[in-house]
Amino acid sequence: MTKIQRIQKILSGLLMLACTILLVAEPEIGLYVVALILGVSLLLSGLRSLIFYFTMARHMVGGKATLYQGIIVLDLAVFTLSMVDDPHFFIMLYLLVIHAFSGVMEILHALEAKRYGASAWRRSLAAGVVNLLVAVGAVVAVVFLHSTADLVFLYAACLFYSACVQFVSAFQKTAIVYIQ
């Protein structure tokens, strides 16, 4: 990793941390902020697809599909941003899908690691269970408790975790030693 990449990771971690604090301090407006973040993320994803097409996928057999995908996602981003007034559904769906998938993957990994007798399986299992709990929590917060604040706190916790991952990653040793 270059120094600039490490700095980028630290800045991105700090930004996530700032968002976490904002969400916890002001849960009233927090939900709108979260919806805005998701809408903007979609917008950036569409732009990223277009950049990907012009820098790389245009050399690829069938690469035109990336161009069309970028345009469609951009459209979707605009649509999402126009619905920021009722964001419960979007955040719940986001938390549900992302964490349920990660949870299942972690648990499968833990089972495989256990079969090999590796000690790391407990950590994977714990991570998988936590991810599944977050997904379940998102559904409970919206469907059963109708609690906007709980949903915001849940999202804030996930954001905090992502910030920590960025910090750890920024300080990780990554160079390979070459001995002739």
Binding site: M1, A57, H109, Y116, S119, T174, I176, V177
Partner: protein, 390 residues
């Protein structure tokens, strides 16, 4: 390639090159172990995790695909399974730096890195020879795919035909790809598994030959397809031909490692040494079967007159774990881990020196001293130990 080639065929190649039965078994074991030495196994053995030569499917699904994660994946797969053919390839006109970096990791046989790999194993352990044979053989099987996640390089589309030799040339049959991991390919019906299409450039699904399923790993198959990177130019892959050359090159490389040949050169093969067995080998390679272990094993036993034991993953684990920390490098697995660290270190350095950062940073110890991942300190200790003995 699979166990049939990496274990049993490597045993045959080593024996033809003049190694003893026991030495051939050690080389073959090491060659096959490359496909099994995952971080999960290493953590169980409390061995250096950087010695990993492969990633389990679920390790991959779990792997980070940020910059650091991708570099880690690339180091493993480009060093041991998809050795780049030309680190200075030009690529398409007006392509950007990132595209070119990926393009330059496309695996092909007879590249400079094959020579570097074999040279690195020279004078080393039998485990180093085994690792080199795995890497060399895979350059033939995995040609035209890259050991880094990349949609723009590794993707394939519906234009994918199996070719059957006929009197008039080849008959074509459209390959029917399914996405049911774990279920075996159906040779009769021509149904093969492959990884599902993922539009994301760095998705794990786009690593290596996943999009072409196991076809590159079968010695009997011939097929044609449109690789993502070749600007709609069709590639015909003739595995029986390629696997035969892979075998002959292994024998040639092993003769070099034994000191029978002064220099290893790319593009040269031990055609003469293998010729007495050519017919039998070609028969095995052409036989339409998912697993050719039994046939290669029979050939190996015929060659040496000894029983070739089946590959046992647990064979050396207890011995490694029983040794105290300062003795581990002398064990079978300890030597394997040192050789794998050396191979990974060398390939990463060559990729880095070519201006390509996809495999991460490489710090030259001779110039800058030790910095970076601590596991590699084992290499310095091993070299120091070797120097003391010399």
């Amino acid at each position: 390639m699979q166990k049939d080639f990496h274990y049993y065929a490597t045993y045959c190649a080593a024996f033809i090159a003049g190694y003893s039965h026991e030495e051939s078994l050690d080389i073959a074991y090491s060659a096959q172990f490359v496909d099994l030495c995952s971080r999960t196994l290493l953590s169980k053995l409390k061995a250096p995790l950087s010695a990993a030569t492969t990633q389990l499917q679920l390790e991959l699904m779990n792997a980070r695909t940020d910059l650091v994660g991708l570099q880690d994946i690339t180091r493993i797969w480009a060093s041991f399974h998809f050795l780049p053919g030309d680190l200075r390839a030009e690529g398409p006109e007006k392509s950007g730096r990132v595209y070119r970096s990926k393009y330059r990791l496309i695996c092909k046989p007879n590249g400079d890195l094959v020579k570097d790999t074999v040279d690195l194993a020279k004078g080393g352990s039998l485990q180093a020879a085994g690792i080199a044979m795995h890497v060399l053989a895979d350059t033939w099987a995995h040609s035209y795919f890259a050991g880094t996640p990349s949609l723009v390089i590794n993707n394939t589309n519906n234009y994918f035909y199996e070719l059957f030799p006929s009197d008039t040339g080849y008959q074509e049959k459209l390959v029917d790809f399914h996405h049911t991991p774990g279920s075996p390919d159906d040779l009769e019906k021509g149904i093969y598994n492959n990884s599902i299409y993922q539009g994301s450039e760095n998705s794990i699904m786009n690593l290596g030959h996943g999009r072409a399923g196991h076809l590159p790993d079968y010695s009997f198959i011939r097929y044609k397809y449109l690789p993502a990177w070749a600007n709609y130019e069709e590639i015909i892959k003739d595995n029986p031909h390629d696997y035969y050359y892979a075998f002959c090159q292994m024998v040639y490389a092993l003769e070099f490692l034994r000191g029978l040949i002064p220099q290893f050169e790319t593009g040269r093969y031990a055609i003469q040494a293998v010729s007495p067995y050519e017919e039998e080998i070609r028969q095995i390679l052409e036989k339409r079967q998912l697993d050719a272990c039994a046939d290669w094993k029979a050939l190996g036993e015929k060659l040496s007159g000894e029983s070739v034991e089946d590959f046992d993953l647990n064979k050396y684990q207890a011995a490694y774990m029983a040794l105290p920390e300062n003795e581990k490098n002398k064990s079978f697995l300890g030597r394997f881990f040192l050789a794998s660290l050396a191979q990974k270190s060398m390939v990463t350095n060559k990729i880095f020196k070519s201006g390509n950062l996809l495999a991460g940073f490489s710090v030259d110890y001779a110039e800058n001293g030790f910095a970076g991942i601590r596991d590699f300190f084992k290499l310095i200790e091993a070299f120091a130990e070797e120097a003391r003995h010399d």
